[in-house]
């Protein structure tokens, strides 16, 4: 594999087995994700999409393979630092550079929107409270929710919650954003506002990995679409080929059911 400075995440031979290998949620996944790319992950239920996405920031601990993020294999418990000394890998340092957005939002219900957003910048990055709040407010402004800064999550609609979840992750100024079916729990009329924010983010050059069933989003926004089945990536191509000229019979079958 040619070295490429632009590769942000390099996944090789990634495995996640359960029950002594009886269940292979991931069975040797290889993929390079370059800076600025929007990778959309599509596949039937149970094919390993969530497991793949959640392995990238080690929410799931893989049972084999490597994930090289910014040049560090984050699946290792111990790594060599710049001085060549063996030290314990601190996964939190890497996670804060990978924003994650969940199907069920997972906002903190006991905190205001502003506190939801500033908690990690203050506690993890040691940012000053005023600076964190300024950043949070400007992000809220961008998604049209500046007036809800002091509301609690329960006071927001689903679409508003998910927009807050996105800007909460952005508040950590991540290098990549991971989305796991961000619109699947929304009422249909709210899907558009969330996809719109994601599209804006993509246009600004954010690196994104998006698990979704929104084929329109994949077609228009993705730089690459991958098709997963039974823990493997079967297809990895540009959206035009993916939808216009799918060669893989499993993908053809899948598309005929969802389109």
């Amino acid at each position: 594999m040619a070295t490429n400075d632009n590769i942000l995440i390099q996944v090789s031979g990634l495995k996640k087995h359960y029950n002594k290998g009886a269940i292979k949620a991931l069975d040797g996944v290889n993929i390079d994700i370059r800076r600025g790319e929007v990778v959309v992950v599509i596949g039937p239920s149970g094919s390993g999409k969530s497991t793949f996405l959640r392995s990238l920031n080690l929410m799931e601990e893989p049972t084999g393979g490597a994930i090289i993020f910014n040049g560090v294999d984050i699946t290792k418990k111990k790594i060599r630092n710049e001085q060549g000394k063996v030290v314990k890998l601190n996964i939190d340092e890497h996670r804060q550079k990978m924003g994650m957005v969940f199907q069920h939002f997972n906002l903190f219900p006991h905190m205001t929107i502003l506190d939801n957003m500033t908690l990690a910048p203050i506690q993890v990055k040691g940012m000053k409270k005023e600076d964190a709040e300024k950043l949070a407010l400007s992000l809220l402004e961008r998604v049209g929710l500046a007036d809800r800064a002091n509301a609690y999550p329960i006071q927001l609609s689903g679409g508003q919650k998910q927009r807050v979840a996105i800007v909460r992750a952005l508040c950590m100024e991540p290098e990549v954003m991971l989305f796991d079916e961000p619109t699947s729990a929304l009422d249909p009329e709210m899907v558009g506002e969330v996809l719109h924010v994601m599209q804006q983010l993509a246009e600004e050059g954010m690196t994104m990995v998006v698990v979704t069933h929104e084929m329109g989003f994949a077609r228009e926004v993705a730089s690459r679409v991958i098709f997963m089945d039974a823990g493997n990536i079967l297809v990895d191509t540009d959206p035009k080929t993916f939808f216009g000229n799918p060669e893989n019979p499993r993908l053809q079958d899948f598309l005929s059911k969802v389109l």
Binding site: H17, E93, R95, N106, F108, L119, Q123, V124, A169, M172
Partner: protein, 261 residues
């Protein structure tokens, strides 16, 4: 000791008003002390039960480091001594009568330890009060452990995932995300346990604590009246417990309203 209650007999009790007052104060102190000891013990027990320290974990892995299938070795590998001890403690204390536990703890522990005999707020002796707090606290610790554990486990797993994905470490997640929500969920249950403690504390007169029930016994010895002092005690306990549970219910309603906003 006639069973008939005469109004005039209550007049005879007026001389014991101060004693009843002190008994009441001791019951309140005892209950507060118990809920504090019980909560601390409950936290320790809950952490033990939720811990994942398995010294025999390696037995569950085969040569290549993969998990073995079901079997004796896998069962052994899951053994968690801290959790086992805490679970045994909780189950034993929840399956035996308080009055027996209190006697066992009193004669078992305080039969061999000599406590200092200083006076507590001028109304009782430390060595008569402290064993009651310890014995009741050990009992309610078992119940509070389960309240705390279910409170923490009731927090959706997505909460800690979201926190960890933002880069917060395990301690920060517990401190800023899990505990504030868990405490809010379990405060009503802890307050209800407090009312239970007030009522159960009445058995500690059997180990020499000078609470309301002990005053009843002294008055009975001095005046040969039983129903009258018992009715006074009934009234005192009711005046402690009824308003407390009403206040709790009020806050519970207010909190759930806050959540539904």
């Amino acid at each position: 000791m006639g069973g008939l209650i005469k109004l005039s007999n209550f007049a005879k009790l007026s001389g014991y008003a101060e004693m009843f007052g002190q008994g009441l104060a001791i019951t309140v102190m005892l209950s507060i002390g118990t809920v504090v000891v019980g909560a601390l013990l409950g936290i320790v027990l809950a952490l033990m039960r939720m811990s994942d320290i398995r010294p025999l974990r390696f037995l569950g892995l085969d040569k290549e480091g993969h998990l073995r299938g079901p079997g004796v070795l896998t069962t052994l590998s899951k053994f968690n001594p801290l959790s086992f001890l805490a679970t045994a403690y909780v189950e034993i204390l929840r399956s035996t009568p308080v009055i027996v536990q209190i006697a066992v703890i009193y004669y078992g522990i305080f039969g061999v330890i000599d406590l200092p005999t200083f006076s507590l707020f001028g109304i009782t002796k430390f060595h008569r009060f402290f064993p009651g707090v310890v014995a009741l606290g050990m009992n309610s610790g078992a119940y509070l452990c389960e309240i705390i554990r279910s409170g923490i486990q009731s927090i959706d797993g997505g909460q800690s995932e979201a926190a960890r994905s933002l880069g917060l470490n395990q301690n920060q997640t517990l401190r800023f995300i899990i505990l504030p929500q868990a405490i809010r969920n379990i405060l009503p249950a802890i307050a209800n346990e407090f009312v239970v403690i007030i009522k159960e504390s009445a058995v500690t007169y059997t180990i020499g604590v000078q609470d309301i029930m002990a005053v009843v016994q002294s008055v009975k010895g001095a005046t040969y009246l039983i129903m009258e002092p018992l009715l006074v005690a009934t009234a005192l306990y009711f005046c402690l417990c009824f308003p407390t549970s009403k206040i709790i219910a009020h806050f519970e309603r207010r909190m759930s309203r806050g959540n539904k906003r």
